[in-house]
């Protein structure tokens, strides 16, 4: 999956460490084996592998020390799970719901804020874990202790949910494309939106893909239009 990109990123390191052509090729071929993890935390493994290869080339690696290839195999699954749940499952939704909340209220620069919020964390962590991987020689326990991804993921998810609650409360101030235009007081419309959304959540718990739900909603709207309700 990611072995092509990983071995390509490692290419300059291996070229520098192994002037002997045969040894360089042998090491490169080893790193072209199957590799798949969360792409940002792959930086940690990349830093660690560079360090282990450096130790090996300098003759500093002891016989009992883990080999760079073994380290890759050992770390890719746990870091994949950790990174997926933090970056895809918590950080991205947080940046997205904040940006969407602002778009709904008519703020045009929300996409820029999304990029800034996300990349401040993403680029910072990506650089940081690359060097941390190099300095710690791939000590994943120290990485988890230092960054507490699980705790941050919980926090980001809770904040995302809070912002979504705010989006529903502000329904009367949504931009005109989404505005309900109902002759009802704002709090009543907001409560109706909250109730409707919670009902939808209950329906979603029984299953259904986003595509099916979009199609179902479109059919529901068509039915309402044909019935003359709207």
């Amino acid at each position: 999956m990611q072995s092509l990109g990983f071995s390509y990123a490692l290419l300059p390191v291996l070229q520098k460490l192994y002037p002997d052509r045969a040894e360089f090729e042998a090491r490169l071929r080893l790193h072209m084996e199957y590799f798949n993890t969360q792409p940002y935390l792959a930086s940690f493994i990349l830093g660690a592998v560079a360090r282990l290869e450096e130790d090996r080339a300098a003759g500093r690696a002891s016989a009992s020390a883990i080999d760079a290839v073994g380290l890759k195999s050992a770390l890719m699954a746990p870091l994949g799970a950790l990174g997926d749940s933090f970056f895809w499952g918590a950080l991205k939704p947080l940046a997205a719901v904040i940006a969407v909340a602002l778009v709904m209220a008519g703020v045009w620069w929300a996409p820029i804020l999304f990029l800034v919020l996300y990349n401040l964390w993403h680029v910072g962590l990506r650089m940081s874990v690359l060097f941390w991987g190099y300095h710690s020689s791939g000590d994943a326990m120290a990485l988890m202790e230092r960054y507490s991804f699980t705790r941050m993921a919980r926090l980001f998810k809770a904040i995302s949910l809070s912002v979504l609650g705010g989006v529903l409360a502000g329904i009367s101030g949504w931009r005109p494309e989404f505005g309900p235009n109902l002759p009802l007081p704002g709090p009543v419309v907001a409560l109706a939106a909250l109730t409707g959304t919670m009902l939808l959540v209950s329906v979603l718990r029984r299953g259904g893909s986003p595509i099916k739900l979009m199609l179902g909603l479109a059919l529901f709207c068509l039915a309402l239009a044909y019935a003359g309700v709207v």
Binding site: G80, A105, G165, R205
Partner: protein, 257 residues
Amino acid sequence: MFDLHMVLAITGVALVGGLIGLDRTAAGQFMISQPIVAAPFAGWLLGDATAGLVIGAMLELIWVLDMPVGSFVPADATVSAVTATAVAALTCPGGAPRSVLGFCLLLSAGTVPFTMMAETSVRNWNSRLVDAAHAVAGADVARSLSRAHLTGLFAFFLKSVVLYVLLLPAGLAAAALFMRSPSIVQVAMELFLKLLPLLGVALVVRRLSISSLDPFVLTGFITAGLATLVLHFHAALVTLLTVVSGWLGVRYREHRR
């Protein structure tokens, strides 16, 4: 319908969309390929940034938690968002009405199976590239690896370009038919656009929370309700307050434990 201007516009969208699409998995992943960024950008290039903003925000909510976990290939929300925006902007050059925006959002759902099929094929082909580089004998393995890497990047670019070239004309033809549809269909699509945010919010809440009536959603709802309806704060300040209330909620929960 497909005059020179339209052909040039489709070609431009395909090339720009192909470059933006590289950010999804092939290079960088700085999130410029996310619908909330890619769609307004495409809309701005085609003269209707508002359509892009509306379509991008909705598709962001719907697809944000469709995660590329393990070997699962998620929907290519970039192609869907840019296609929907381009169809809206090219169908109604002066600014797409709400019914067209609703229709284009529905249209984006139709693009998903095609994008997933194309993505799966390119990923499989990309995996075979490394095997091919591996099989090279002798001293050329590094050069072969570099070539395979660049070929992989080009394959992802080409995949997006081909998808745009196929999906955009089909989408424009569908939008032209929609414009001639009875007014009742147009009213339904306008209602669809208004109800879609609720579905989007529900999709995210369902994935982030284990309970239907989540306490953090209620906290944000009450905070924003007071800030908006009683204190009439600006939207950006209200959003900031909901962020703070969520953070305080977590601190309170941790403190109780």
